[in-house]
Every structure is written in structure tokens, then in C-alpha cells.
Amino acid sequence: MSQFPEGVPRLESYSTIRAWRERLGRYRLRGSKCRVCGALWFPSRMGMVCPQCLQLDQEDYECARTGVVVVHELEVMGYPAMGYGELAPRHICMIRLDDGVHILSEVTDAREERVGPGTRVRMVFRKHKREETGNWMYGYKFVIEGQ
């Protein structure tokens, strides 16, 4: 912000409360599991309905932390998502975790490595873009397994 003390109004800001509420999904891949039919869900459907059996009985479930890339994009389109410009180009991947859950994530620490369908990856904890309050935000990313 400039040296002038007048505040710059922002019409829309995500609340830090939302980031707090969802943090264990970001930090620990916490999804949910249907107590009735056993279906696994990520993102968590806690308090929501299981689409498989239409019952309302979810429990917390932590997804597998390793998996395999099924679809890959090296994002070179020239307009990275806001707050992710320092890392461009990013490896954006659809990952099938070892428990069968599919997750969209970024494979980081792989500037020189080949990433593509079949690459084994494991979850790591990294810093993401800032919350709109200016606070740091953390969450999952992936790195090549064994790296």
C-alpha cells in the first residue's frame, strides 16, 4: 500500500474464517468417508449427503498421501492464477491417490524433472498464495516420490 494513510476499499474479500474452517482439508488431505456405504470423498462432504447412497452420515477420513499422475499440464498460458506467478510454469496434475481418490494439485520442486501420466508423487506441505487479509496460507502440493 502507498504511504498515504487512506485505506483502499476492496469490494470482495474471502474471509479468513473460511480458510480456517477448511484448513485440515488443505493441511492433511482430510476428506470424508460415508459410514453407510464406505464411499470416500474429497473434498470432505462432512455434514453433506453421500451421492452414492444418499445418506447423511459422513466421518472424517484422511486421504492417502501418495499417488500417481493421471493427467498433466505444464501451465504455459502466460496468465498464472493470482498469487502463483513466481512459480510459473507450474506442473498442474490430476492425481489418483493410492486409495482411489482423485485430486487436482501442483507438482512442485520439479523445475527440471519430467512429470507426466504415471509419475509417482507424494504430498508435501507448502505455502500458497496469501489470504486476502494478507495472512499466509498453507496447504498441500505434491513432489515426485523418492525425491
Binding site: V70, E73, E75, L104, P117
Partner: protein, 401 residues
Amino acid sequence: MHNSTPGRRTVLLGSAVSPPERSVLGVGYREYLTRVTTEALLVSGLGLADVEIGAISYNERNVPEGALAPVVCDALGLVPRPFISISQACAGGGVCADIISAYIESGRYRIGIVLGLNKPDNFDFRDAMGPIGNWTDVDYMLGFTHENYGYLRSEAYKQQYGYDDRVAARWARQCHWYARRNPLALYSQGPLPTEEELLSSTPAGYRARTATGRNLASCLVLASEDVAEELGREPLFFTVGYAHRPCYIGNHYYYTGHPLYREADMSRQPALALAARDAFERARITVDDIDLAQVHDLSSYDGMMALEAMGVVAPGQGGRFVLEGQTAIDGACPTNTDGGAIAFGHSSAGGDFASKVHENFLQLTGRAGERQVPSARTAVAQAYGTHHSLDVVSVLRRQDT
């Protein structure tokens, strides 16, 4: 003109889309919508006083006004009439049209308008659009937008069926061919891009094979079939079907909530198949009746996946269909005769649905000029919202002979 008879079918009386402009910064959205509404009513032979109900499709994060219906209703001088606002991304126009159709078919109203608005200069465009229709906690907030979804979907399709970018280049070139014959298209002029340009593996090449954004306002005028009769117009029967798919892209894999989705991955569009099935059934057509199609090609591969999901071609055959030239004007199914999202322009909630219906209207009324598909009687228009979290299919057809 109140109280039509229940069971009457919905017809499209007229439509209008705004001229191609990359930016309309000097015009507010109220004026922008007013222009197309008056034009569409003129085409329909009606006036504002005849409008009984309206609906508008917009992207909630493109306007600061949280509830758009009262604002637009007021701008058009339609107060106190009923008005509905729908924020359901690029395919929201289809949902609006379905609601208005249902009102008309129920007999409650006879004439309604469906507006679409894409004029994203109130907020930073890409950021505002990023979270639309996503499960934002774990995608948008972690730096992924539906544009990433789109790229991955294309990759999944190529991977699944062994296609490379030659099919995309061919698709894009065909779209440009049509666009050069459509004065409303963003790329209505200039030389056709070469296959080489369209095949380039550079970001510029990628962009050439994917949609180009444009501002757009649209208006469809829907009415009960007896209104067309009173006006002495040939009725064009209009039907919409739509279906949803999970918001989170990971749940596009083997989603167990519906049998059709169980074996699907990103390269198959089961919601689109359901929407098409519904629309075709209610319009009493089969896929063989389709004379031409407008599909939502945010990337060329999206267009092929759409043709497959609607049943125009078998799964995996979309690419071959394109290479054989079957989407050309003399092909088995002329496709995206307006130029599609790639060359007509991608206008999200403003017209990704309505502009396709507008093109079908021009085609079925013989007003499509150099790109006219001869003796077209049945045309379909398809649009999806963000990443097929919403799929819409509409059918426009002339009277059975």
C-alpha cells in the same frame, strides 16, 4: 395477453446478440442489455409492453450488484413484472430459457424474454471468473481455475483416444471458415489461419485452438405457440434439457452418484449425455434428425467431446469425424456454423448458450447468408458451465411436415 393454454409448446419468436466488440467499456451493462432486448423484440414483432416475464443469466462475480433481476427489470421499464436472475456460468442461459419455457408451457405466461450478460469489466476478469462453479476451498484457493480444468480435460481426451493437436487445428480452421461468413463473429474478417499456425506448440498456438473471450449481451424471445399463430409466424419449437456434474474436478473420475458417471473420467461428458437425452426426448427427435449443431468449444476437444456425448458420433470418434470434414457445411453434421467459441467468441453467461440458439434461429429461418445450411429443419445448441458442472442442450426445430 395473459393466460395461455397449458400444454402449449414453446416457440422462439426472435433473438438478438450484440455486435462483436472486444470491449464495450463506455457502456454500462444496463444500456448494453437494453439494446439487445429492443432489437430482439423488434425481430419478434413485439414490444416491451408484451413481455410478461424475464430471466437473465449472468456471472455473479461480474457485477457488484448481488441480485441482478430487479436492476435489469427496472432498466427495461418492466417493473413490476416478474424477473429471475440465474448465475450458473456459461450455460446459465439454458437454465433461464428452461424456466421461461416451463412458465409458458404451464400456461401461466405467454411471452418471456431470456437475457444473457457477459461484460466482465466491473471486476478483474480472470480472477472473478476463476472460482465460478468450482469447489473453491481446494481448487481456486489453491491456485487452480476452471481454465486448468479445461486444459486437463483436453489432455485427458487426447490421451484416451490417441489424438494429437492436428484434430484441434482442423476443428479451429473449420470454425474460422464459418466465422469469415458471419458478420457477428469476432473473426469475421482476415485471412484464414494456416494449419501450421493452428498447430504451433507455442502458447500462441494453444490460444488459437481455444476460445477467445468477448463481451456479449443476448436476448431470446420465447412465447407460447399460439402467439406465433396470432402473429402469422412459422413456429420454431424450442426445448431445453440440462444436467449437472460434480463441481470438484477430481469427482469427475468414477463418480458413484449416477450409473452413467461410474465409468466416466474427464474425457467423457455424462451430464451432457443426460441433458441431450432429455432435450431430444421432449422435442421428440432422435439424433438422426439433427441437421446442424452448435457446441461449446472452449477448446477444440470440448467440441468433439460434445458431439460424442450427444450421440452424433460414437465415443472417441469425434476427432476422426472432424478430420473427415463432417463438421463442414457439406458434412454430415455442420457444426459451429457461427464460428464457435474459437472464432465467433466465447461470451460465457452472456451468450455461450444464447448466441448458439441465435445462430440456429438464423439457420432455420434462412437468414444465415453464405454459411446457410441448406434445408435445415432441426438444430441443436449445447453449452456447458465452467467444466461441465452444468450441461445444457437445446433443440430448435421447424414444424413437422
